[in-house]
């Protein structure tokens, strides 16, 4: 095991999910969707980004050993790893629960209650992890859509920008039409004019006519929000 002095030289810190160059190549910390475990030490393309602004980990200046076990990483001060594993497992369980439910507008469902409980406990960390799982194809699209709508509904100014950016990412990158539409609904709830450029991009690239129409119809809601801010 490497000693702490060697492993945390300097005061630099990176956010969870960032990558950096080492003699071994690009190194990152993230979630491995295949093993469903936190991973590190492989190329950044294999990682899913994490955003946790208030939780930073020590910059490590040596190349991480691919065989490093969890205790070694924790020794290096990467306490977030364990937390990521827990929240990932909890989210996967609740997404599984949701896959057995039928969702109907305006009707309560157990999935949403349980999902929001996790968000309440883990905050933005749970939201970024959930979006990560959704975009990596780990979640049934109709369940993902429900989660994205609930993410938009959360009344929390401190996570406003991150939630908006994550939903915009889902609108542009979601493989399923359910995911893209769920993101749109979430974005309407947030109703931030900063979304306008993303909506215009989504209109250009959306292949499903009905969803494209819905995005076009949603645009004035954001433009009205922009006007009201002037």
């Amino acid at each position: 095991m490497r000693n702490r002095e060697e492993s945390s030289i300097g005061a630099s810190q990176i956010s969870f999910g960032e990558s950096w160059n080492s003699p071994a190549g690009t190194v990152g910390i993230g979630y491995d969707p295949t093993s469903r475990k936190p991973s590190w030490g492989v190329s950044y393309q294999d990682f899913r980004s994490r955003l946790e602004p208030d939780e930073l980990i020590p910059y490590i200046q040596y190349p991480l050993d691919l065989q490093t076990d969890l205790s070694d990483v924790e020794d290096a001060g990467l306490h977030s790893i364990r937390r990521l594993s827990i929240v990932t497992d909890e989210l996967l369980a609740v997404f599984q629960l949701g896959s057995n439910e039928e969702f109907e507008d305006g009707m309560e469902n157990q999935f949403s209650r349980e999902f929001l409980k996790i968000v309440e406990v883990y905050g933005i960390f749970a939201i970024t992890t959930a979006v990560d799982l959704i975009l990596s194809g780990e979640v049934k699209p109709f369940v993902a859509a429900e989660a994205l709508q609930r993410i938009g509904d959360i009344e929390d100014d401190s996570s406003h920008d991150i939630r908006r950016k994550l939903l915009e990412k889902c609108l542009l990158q979601g493989e399923s039409v359910y995911i893209r539409d769920g993101a749109l609904i979430g974005l309407v709830s947030i109703n931030d004019p900063a979304t306008i450029s993303t909506l215009k991009q989504a209109i250009q690239q959306e292949s499903i006519p009905l969803l494209r129409k819905l995005i076009i119809e949603a645009l004035p809601l954001f433009e009205a929000a922009l006007e009201s801010r002037k």
Binding site: M107, D153, I208, L211, E217
Partner: protein, 169 residues
């Protein structure tokens, strides 16, 4: 022009617009059929309306008031005449919402067989997608609820606890 108003789930119709290579030509994925269930005794609950904003808003508010919570509302419209020409029949049957006028607009499509539900799904897909499928987002639903509560609702008929709380009843 009189339209048949039916609550739907937009995602099912979006799914129908996706390409599914396994589908035989001329067929659509079965998901949207779920919007024409449940039937009871071969009858399906719909509303007869004009395509006018105040009327549609009023129906949306009335139906949103009988749900468990505040949420977006999605519906589809189809010309009644088209359905009548296809042999669909209606019967008058008062609705059960807090808005008495909206209740008068309620009818049942009757004598529905599995084949007729299939026909209904296809005709909606061919004639109503995408322009006659509409979505009202949650903030607008909230606004419509407040307006209808002020102008049209019988407060005693608003029974859902979350809706009563939102309306201050």
């Amino acid at each position: 022009v009189t339209f048949v108003f039916r609550r739907i789930q937009m995602g099912r119709w979006e799914k129908a617009e996706e390409q599914h290579l396994w589908l035989p030509p001329g067929e659509i994925i079965a998901d949207p059929m779920a919007d024409f269930f449940p039937t009871q005794d071969g009858k399906l609950s719909v509303y007869l309306v004009e395509d006018s904003r105040p009327i549609l808003d009023r129906v949306v508010a009335a139906l949103a008031a009988i749900r468990q919570g505040l949420d977006k509302f999605e519906y589809g419209l189809m010309e009644l005449e088209v359905l009548e020409n296809m042999g669909f029949k209606t019967e008058v049957s008062p609705g059960d919402t807090p808005d008495m006028k909206v209740n008068e607009w309620h009818v049942n499509l009757i004598e529905l067989s599995t084949r007729r539900i299939l026909d209904l799904t296809h005709i909606f897909y061919e004639r109503s997608v995408p322009n006659m499928l509409r979505r009202v987002y949650k903030p607008d639903v909230q606004e419509l609820l407040l307006k209808s509560n002020e102008m049209f609702f019988d407060p005693n008929k608003v029974t859902q606890p979350n809706i009563r709380k939102f309306l201050g009843l």
